[in-house]
Assembly symmetry: C2
Homo-oligomer: 225 residues x 2
DNA sequence: TTTAGTCTTATTGTCGACAATATTGGCCTT
DNA sequence: AAGGCCAATATTGTCGACAATAAGACTAAA
């Protein structure tokens, strides 16, 4: 059974939302640039009404910033923003792990274990191809978050912060060599969840994200400044 | 200096948002009821365009739930929802306290202390009047959250979860006798922040919110079931 | 030359109407 | 009589145009 949680973009506003989201995350629309409603409407060939709906949701996930009567700008990436974002992720995904250890069904856990093994093998085949690793990493986190069974937590992490995290990763070029270590950490987290040890799962996830943050920061000070 | 962080509702969509928010929180629009766009548009005497903008933001703060092409319903209160919400608040406001202990300026701390003393005195005068206590309580939490200086955290707690918390409190009739104890707990939290003891502040805030949650649960099982 | 003010221009916010989709009621079939 | 199918209705999604506001250019005065 495929997870039916991602609605397949029924309305036009949904479709254009996905397109713009991708464009912003991948830097196709430059960070910090001003957004022109008429221009985007023409570019995606629809009216301003659904476009504005999409912009409202983009603001919700912190990809753009709007000022009333003034317009919208694509968010600018900053060290401060990255720090704030990962601070929050540490706490929230830690909580997600603790709750997942309580609420995940045994079947979900074994599915997740299968997924990890699968990722490991495909990763061995495609060494260096960071895209798959990235997708796999996000998938793991995604499932744990869903396993928390807390609707608000799921909404915040999967709908609101998810794309911004991806934006930082993509635009800072995170193809780092942290791949194999991340796998081990995922495995350890999963074991804690399987043992219903929420406290340990929480701790391990916080460490895992902190390590990821330090990794990005290192990348940042090499590239930038 | 008054905090200029709440924009004074420039646009029509902003105004109607505030009105509908209040109406939902205070039960003027029944929980679980269906929302009719034409009806609300007529009721507030504006077009559907700004109304839909308002509805989008209401969905963002979990006061309504929308289904594409089907419509929107006011959220229903449930024990499960309350639990999820307070679970999240415990963690998030705990984090806010820890960060506030790091980032709040001394001036902000003394202002907050003054505010607490003021609340205490006015509360002694107006014993039983729960409204002021409620406002004061929210104000304290609000300031601590702002003190965290984490934009994402602030956004989540103040913009997205705040009104839902109020909705639970109002509609479950929270005028409880937890008043004086809450004051003491606030004081203790503030002291920890002033001592720059983030860990303690975190712990105390989590306990504070857990106590508040148990209080509401007790209220709930008296009223409901 | 700088600065203040005004006017032009462009963008956002709002409106009413149309198109597409879901819901409701009635009708027919079994 | 019950259940399913279809039409009628109502509601949502989308469109193009207008109004209100902000940004930018140009002029004029210090």
């Amino acid at each position: 059974m495929q997870t039916p949680l991602l609605k397949p973009a029924i309305t036009a506003a949904d479709r254009v939302l996905l397109e713009i989201q991708r464009a912003i995350v991948e830097g196709d629309i430059t960070a910090g640039s001003k957004i022109s409603e008429p221009e985007l409407a023409k570019r995606f060939d629809l009216s301003r009404a659904p476009l504005r709906e999409a912009l409202a949701r983009l603001e919700r996930c912190h990809l753009i910033e709007r000022i009333p009567n003034a317009g919208a700008r694509v968010v600018k990436l900053s060290t401060q923003g990255l720090l704030s974002l990962y601070q929050l992720r540490e706490t929230l995904e830690g909580l997600a792990c603790r709750l997942a250890a309580e609420h995940m069904a045994d079947s979900e856990i074994s599915e997740l274990r299968a997924l990890l093994d699968q990722h490991l093998s495909t990763q061995r085949v495609r060494e260096g191809e960071s895209y798959y690793q990235e997708a796999g990493d996000l998938d793991f986190h995604y499932r744990v978050i869903l396993g928390s069974k807390n609707e608000y937590l799921i909404n915040i992490l999967c709908d609101e912060l998810y794309h911004l995290v991806r934006m930082y990763r993509v635009q800072l070029g995170m193809n780092g060599p942290r791949v194999s270590r991340a796998f081990d950490e995922h495995k350890a987290i999963l074991n804690a969840i399987a043992n219903r040890d929420g406290e340990l799962a929480d701790l391990l996830m916080r460490r895992h994200i902190a390590a990821s943050r330090r990794n990005i920061e290192k990348q940042l000070e090499q590239t930038g400044t």
